[in-house]
Amino acid sequence: MPARKPNRKSRRPSTATTETGRVDHGRRRSRRRLVVLLGALLAVVVSAVHVGASRARRSDFEKAMQARRLVKAETLVDRPWWPFGSLADETVMRARLARLRGEDAAATAFLNFAESAGDAPRRIELERRLLAIQSGQVAASVDELSSLLQSHPDEGPIIFEAFVNINAASGRFDQALSLLTIWGEADPTSALVDMHRGEVLLAVDAYDAAVTAFRRSLARNEHVLRSRIGLTEALNQLQSSGEALQQARLVLAEDPTNITILNTAAGLLSGPDDGAERERLLRLMLAIDPDNYDATLSLGRLLCDRQEFPQAFEVLVKLESFHPLDASLNYLLAQAATGLGRQADAAKYLEQHFASKAEIDRLTKIKRSRSDDRRSLDDERTLALGFMKFEWKSAGPHLMRIQQAAGVDPEVSQAINKFSRQMN
């Protein structure tokens, strides 16, 4: 084993979003483990190069390294039931997280590495079996579940979680809920069971029931951040704005840069006294994601509302090159320019706003002339590309229909990418 040299790169606080939705700025313990793991991986590859290891092994390492980027080491702290032990244990953990993320290849790579590293054969075997079920090589049958529970009696939560995820991911929500009932009976105080139950209920739009499940999870363990995130989402779907905002604030207190919840909270802050908090959240979102078009537009609108026109103009003008014909952007630029007394600029932006509105009217008329299911692909293309120019948020459904009809050409593909970036 080589000396454990601090790795400068690994010292930099990570702002990655974890499995639980938490953004972690790098905990010392996790960092140390990461360094250990990196060191071990490095040792292996150096060794492999020196002894002329097989291409397959090198490939395993590359996959593992790729997976490492996907599966953040910091997530380990959110899995209290996993006893940290050896390097192999930890690598199996990474394999498991990769599996939970649907990164089957990465999970396999980690397991291959863990196998070579040492001493957790039972866990490796369990992971391999769960991976086989997840990838469809083995059916997620009751028999298989029973067999796994018998052979690994101490790993019930991991096994149940895998089966719940597999069923939910394939739309078998009824089976996922049944499994959660059994799991709940076996572990009646588990906050995790209710977290998963809430997420399944959220997936089937049973928002009231999801709220109940998330609340129960939090009553059992108030630190399960994923339950609070789920609760926020369910309350938001129920348009229970006050409570959703309250929960969003609690999430952000623990995880201040969670972009999803920042977005939710900023959207909920629409009252007359909410301006300062909304501005703070929007600026935070933009610090994380400077290209977020929607957040920039919202910030510009907010500043215009407050008649802070110089700041508004400064914020909004950055969007001009990205969406020069967007009707809302041009309206806000005109508003800011008017506030600044720049009448010529205001007139220019207003003319573009009205021209863009006329184009939106034309597109809306095409849209209304036929129902969604009777519109031709050409019409959908016209609508998608047209709306992308003048009112980009309205382009979504049309891009989706083109995508579903496999009618994606380079221009549409570019629009889809642009749309996705903006939504992000």
Binding site: V204, Q237, S241, L245, F354, M423
Partner: protein
């Protein structure tokens, strides 16, 4: 990835999958009760208390049985969106059951089967110029019925146009373009001797929260053209504007209605502090913080020779409010009339001395269907008689599904005030009912005892949002102008006039 992003957009809560609903109900909650059925009060009292707090308790007859599920769901959603938490939400099923008990299976429309009235002759007047689509407002100045006094606002195209009648051929000239003009007010705002136009611009056809409502001043120039000057941008949905010198300083102040959405919007009193470089310095104050303003009128309602502000507010309020001018720059609010049911759909008001006693009475219409897409049998024309006390004494003078605008004048030239009215429904709404169900244009003949007799002028088209009585052909009687609001948004190149054949 894209699919997920798109599906992740805000949506209405959906029904739980039927095959899962039983399973979800059986999941125990923290207190042992079923999770899908959070314990909520089921009594009529609880339902009445919750559903009658933000607004008057809706009448069960306001919607057909099948509609109440949606309405209750919407009510609960809006309560939650309001961020209030002081009320107890009742059991959903119990609330739906409470309303459906007294609800009709379907609306029943009486319809009028009488022959069409022969007093009016429909004339389609073609014009040259850009087609119009959805005329939201028609402005004319009765004191100057010459060419150029007819101003049209097209809610769809945003064009403000002048219908020039000086030649044998009519010509429509675009004066300027805005987004979605709801109302145009003709007034000499800067007192330079040339009439100007004030435009209340919704900013969007459909309700949305982008705050693109504007207020424009089209400053008249000697050559008949206009300069567009921004008075305010960034309102939620500017629906009306009127001018009044409320502080008696010699210039014109404004009253601006911002329809808003559910939780934003207001009526503003805007003080004109004077013009700087030709642009007015305006000080905005909230006169009424409720959203939903449909119309504002400046009239002397209480006969004290001071101009009052009268507002028609829809949404869940459905009320006419008078802001009575106290003469010292302040106003005292009085309710003129309240329809009571939040589903009424107030659509317009008109002032006239209907009973000939020297004061102003009101004609109120409630027939808006933009909220719920439903023509209703209780869409009506009301006459509100001013007896010197508030509220005014109201009586229903006609039922007219979709009624959107009424105007008053002596149609039959017998010396009293009659009423004409138009309705606005979509093609789809009309098609769902038998031919002849809906009157498009009617007039109500006032008799000597103050009652009104209905005459149907046209049926089934129902495509006008505004109307005016005006001697179009110069023969001495009042013709009825009913410019079209085409819900299919196709362009129209003629102008609808019903010529009165009384004289």
């Amino acid at each position: 990835m894209l699919l997920l992003l798109l599906l992740g957009c805000t949506r209405e809560p959906q029904e739980i999958r039927p095959d899962l609903s039983g399973m979800i109900r059986n999941i125990p909650s923290a207190d042992g009760s079923p999770a899908g059925a959070i314990a909520r009060p089921k009594t009529d009292t609880a339902v009445k208390k919750f559903c009658g707090d933000c607004h008057a308790l809706p009448r069960a007859t306001s919607f057909p049985k099948s509609r109440w599920d949606h309405e209750v769901r919407q009510g609960i959603r809006l309560y939650r969106e309001s961020r209030r938490d002081d009320l107890v939400i009742p059991d959903f099923d119990a609330a739906v059951a409470f309303f459906t008990r007294g609800a009709p299976d379907e609306y029943e429309f009486a319809g009028s089967r009488e022959p069409l009235d022969g007093r009016f002759r429909a004339v389609a007047v073609p014009f040259d110029g850009e087609p119009v689509h959805a005329i939201s407002n028609l402005h004319l100045d009765p004191s100057k019925p010459a060419a150029g006094d007819l101003i049209l606002a097209d809610l769809w195209s945003g064009r403000i146009s002048r219908l020039d009648r000086s030649d044998a051929e009519h010509r429509l000239t675009t004066l300027t373009t805005v987004s979605n003009p709801a109302h145009v007010e003709r007034i000499d705002f800067d007192l330079d001797g040339i009439d100007d136009l004030l435009v209340a611009d919704l900013g969007s056809l459909n309700p949305q929260d982008t705050r693109e409502g504007s207020l424009w001043w089209l400053k008249g120039k000697p050559d008949g053209s206009y300069d567009r000057i921004t008075l305010r941008m960034g309102l939620s949905r500017t629906s009306d504007v009127a001018a009044i010198d409320f502080d008696k300083d010699g210039d014109l102040d404004l009253v601006v209605g911002d329809f808003g959405l559910h939780f934003e919007g207001a009526v503003y009193l805007v003080e004109n502090l004077g013009f700087v470089d030709g642009v007015p310095d305006l000080k905005w104050e909230v006169l009424d913080d409720r959203p939903g303003l449909v119309e504002v009128e400046i009239v002397d309602l209480d006969g004290d020779s001071r101009l009052d502000i009268v507002t028609l507010i829809s949404q869940q309020y459905e009320t006419i409010e008078a802001h009575l001018n106290q003469g010292d720059g302040t106003f005292r609010r009085q309710t003129v009339y309240q329809l009571g049911d939040p589903a009424s759909g107030s659509s317009g008001m008109e002032f006239s001395d209907l009973d000939g006693d020297g004061d102003l009475d009101v004609v109120l219409t409630n027939g808006d269907t933009f909220d719920d897409d439903l023509p209703k049998p209780f869409h009506r024309i009301h006459v509100l008689i001013n007896n010197g006390t508030f509220p005014f004494a109201g009586k229903v003078v006609a039922e007219m599904p979709g009624v959107y605008c009424a105007c008053v004048g002596d149609i039959d030239s017998d010396g009293d005030q009659d009423i004409a009215a138009v309705s606005l429904l979509t093609v789809e709404q009309i098609a769902q009912h038998d031919s002849g169900t809906f009157d498009s244009v009617i007039w109500l003949e006032q008799s000597s005892d103050g009652d009104f007799r209905r005459h149907t002028i046209e049926r089934d088209r129902c495509d006008s949002a505004t109307c005016r009585l005006f001697d179009w052909d110069g023969d001495g009687d009042l013709d009825l102008l009913t410019p079209r609001y085409n819900t299919t948004m196709d362009g129209i190149t003629d102008f609808e006039v019903f010529e009165n054949t009384t004289l």
